[in-house]
C-alpha cells in the first residue's frame, strides 16, 4: 500500500442512516451523505422463476430508481456495479434456487451517488439478515483541476473535476471489491485515491458498527 502524501486526508461529509424503516420489505435502510440520500429495500430469500433460477446460488437482482423519470442506461450501469459488489460480499451459496431483490430509490442526488447506493445496500442487506461473508462500503474520490484529491465530492465538485472514481472497499482486508472510474488520471493518482478511500472506509465501518449497536440497544 502506498504511503499517503501529506495534506491528503479523508474528509467525508456528514453521514447518517436508519434501518428497518419500511414495513413490507424484509430489510430496509436509508443512507445520507451530506445532501445525497438513498433508500434501499431488500426482499429475500424468496421464490424465483424457473427461468431465472441458478441451481447452486441465489439470484440477485438490483433495481435503481432515479428520483425523476424512467431508469435509463446510466442506472443500468450503476446496478451492474452494485450487483457485482453485493455478489462478492453475500454468501449466496447458502440459498440456492432463491431470489434476492434489492431496490434502491434515489431520494436526492448531490454527488457521490454510487457510493451512497453501496452504503445503503450494505445496511439493508444487514437489516434483512442475509448471510454475508464481509461488509462493504462505497467511497467516491474526485481529482480537481489542481490535482487535489477530494473525497465524497458534491455535485458541483463532480462537475468541475477532471477524474471521478468510486471504490467499493470490503471490511475484512480493506480490499477493493469494485471500482468505477471516469476521466483521465495517472497510475500514481489512482493508487493514492485507493489509499485515501481505504482510510475513509474505516470511518464508515465504525459508523456501521455504531448504527447496529444503537438498533440492538433496546434488547441488549
Amino acid at each position: 500500500m502506498e504511503e499517503m502524501e501529506e495534506g491528503v486526508c479523508a474528509v467525508l461529509r456528514e453521514y447518517g442512516s436508519e434501518q428497518n424503516l419500511l414495513s413490507k420489505p424484509d430489510g430496509s435502510a436509508t443512507f445520507l451523505q451530506g445532501d445525497t440520500s438513498v433508500l434501499a429495500g431488500v426482499y429475500g430469500p424468496a421464490e424465483v422463476k424457473v427461468s431465472k433460477e441458478i441451481y447452486d446460488r441465489a439470484t440477485l437482482e438490483v433495481v435503481i430508481q432515479p428520483k425523476v423519470g424512467m431508469p435509463s442506461v446510466r442506472e443500468r450501469a450503476r446496478e451492474q456495479c452494485v450487483r457485482e459488489t453485493c455478489e462478492a460480499a453475500l454468501l449466496s451459496t447458502l440459498h440456492p434456487r432463491s431470489s434476492l431483490t434489492l431496490i434502491l430509490q434515489v431520494v436526492h442526488d448531490d454527488g457521490s451517488l454510487l457510493s451512497c447506493c453501496l452504503n445503503a445496500a450494505c445496511m439493508a442487506l444487514m437489516d434483512a439478515g442475509l448471510p454475508m461473508g464481509r461488509l462493504f462500503c462505497g467511497v467516491t474520490c474526485a481529482i480537481d483541476a489542481e490535482s487535489q484529491i477530494i473525497t465524497d465530492p458534491t455535485a458541483q465538485q463532480e462537475k468541475e473535476c477532471r477524474a471521478l472514481m468510486t471504490f467499493a472497499i470490503d471490511s475484512k482486508d480493506r480490499n477493493v471489491l469494485m471500482s468505477s472510474t471516469k476521466g483521465s488520471f495517472s497510475v500514481k493518482e489512482l493508487q493514492q485515491c485507493i489509499a485515501v478511500s481505504q482510510k475513509a472506509s474505516e470511518k464508515i465501518f465504525q459508523f456501521y458498527r455504531d448504527s447496529v449497536k444503537r438498533r440492538y440497544s433496546k434488547i441488549l
Binding site: M1, N20, D26, G27, G44, P45, A46, E47, V48, L91, L94, H95, P96, R97, S98, S99, M126, A128, G129, P131, M132, G133, R134, L135, D170, S171, K172, D173, R174, K199, E202, Y208, R209, V212, K213, R215, Y216, K218, I219, L220
Partner: protein, 257 residues
C-alpha cells in the same frame, strides 16, 4: 483483544482477531473473525476448544466466521449463536410452523410457509390417516406442522404427527380467529418458557393463540373486537421495552373493563 498481526498484514489495517468470550453480549457484524484462545507460550500444541456454532456462525478450520449482524449469545458449556432480528423465515428441521394450504396435487398438499419454496405435506402424515381415510383438508386451511426435511438443497417437507404417530396438537385449525405476521425475534420471545409478554397478555382477557416459528401468529378471543385488540397489542410489542409494554397493557386492561 488486539492480537499481533499475522504474516504480511499491514499495521494500518485493523483486522479484528479476538477471543470469543470477550464478545458475549456485544453486537458483532459480518466479517468479524475469531480464532480460538491460543496463548503465545504454548505454541507446540494448539488446543482448539470444541465450540458448537448456532445460527449466524460458521466454522472455517480453526476460525469462526460471523455471517449475520446481532448480539453474540452463549449457553454453557460451549454453544454460541447470534441473536439477530429478521423478518424472513428460512425453513429449519424440527421447527413447528403455521402453513397455509395452497394446492392439492396427487398424494401431497402444497403448503406456503413463508420461505423461498412451498413445502409439501403428505396425506398420510396426519393422525389416523390411511389411504382410504383421507384427512379433511381444503385449500386455504391453516395447518400447524413440523419440518422433517428442511435444508438448502431439497424441497422442505412437513408432517402433522410426531415420531410416535400422535398429532400432539398439530393439524388443521383456525375455524375463526385472525392470522397475522410478526418478526422472528418476537416469535422467539413469545415461545420462551417463561415469557413476560404472554403472562402480561393473559391478565387482560382470555384468548387462544397459536405461534408458528415462521413469524405467523393466530389469535382468537371471545369477540371480534377482543381478537383485534390482542392482534394489535402483539404487533406493537416488537419495538417496545418491557416498561413501555406494561404501561400500554395496563391502559388497555383499564379501558376494556
Amino acid at each position: 483483544m488486539g492480537r499481533e498481526s499475522v504474516g504480511e498484514r499491514s499495521l494500518t489495517m485493523e483486522t479484528i482477531y479476538s477471543c470469543f468470550k470477550d464478545k458475549i453480549g456485544q453486537v458483532i457484524l459480518p466479517g468479524d473473525v475469531f480464532s480460538f484462545d491460543v496463548s503465545a507460550a504454548e505454541d507446540s500444541v494448539v488446543r482448539a476448544e470444541k465450540v458448537i456454532c448456532g445460527p449466524g456462525l460458521r466454522r472455517n478450520g480453526d476460525e469462526i466466521l460471523v455471517h449475520k449482524s446481532g448480539i453474540l449469545r452463549h449457553k454453557a458449556p460451549n454453544l454460541y449463536w447470534i441473536d439477530s432480528q429478521q423478518k424472513r423465515y428460512v425453513p429449519a428441521k424440527g421447527e413447528s410452523v403455521i402453513g397455509i394450504v395452497t394446492a392439492k396435487s396427487g398424494d401431497i398438499f402444497k403448503v406456503d410457509v413463508g420461505g423461498s419454496e412451498q413445502a409439501s405435506l403428505s396425506y398420510l402424515a396426519f393422525e389416523g390417516a390411511t389411504k382410504r381415510n383421507r384427512p379433511n383438508v381444503q385449500v386455504g386451511d391453516l395447518v400447524y406442522s413440523q419440518f422433517i426435511i428442511a435444508n438448502k438443497d431439497m424441497e422442505p417437507e412437513l408432517v402433522c404427527i410426531d415420531s410416535c404417530g400422535r398429532a400432539n396438537g398439530m393439524g388443521v385449525f383456525g375455524a375463526d380467529g385472525l392470522l397475522f405476521k410478526v418478526s422472528l425475534g418476537l416469535v422467539r420471545r413469545l415461545l420462551a418458557p417463561q415469557s413476560d409478554i404472554v403472562k402480561d397478555l393473559e391478565k387482560i382477557f382470555p384468548f387462544e393463540m397459536v405461534v408458528g416459528m415462521n413469524g405467523r401468529v393466530w389469535v382468537k378471543a371471545k369477540t371480534v373486537q377482543q381478537t383485534l385488540i390482542v392482534a394489535n397489542l402483539l404487533e406493537s410489542c416488537e419495538n417496545m421495552t418491557a416498561q413501555q409494554r406494561q404501561v400500554l397493557f395496563r391502559r388497555v386492561a383499564e379501558g376494556s373493563l
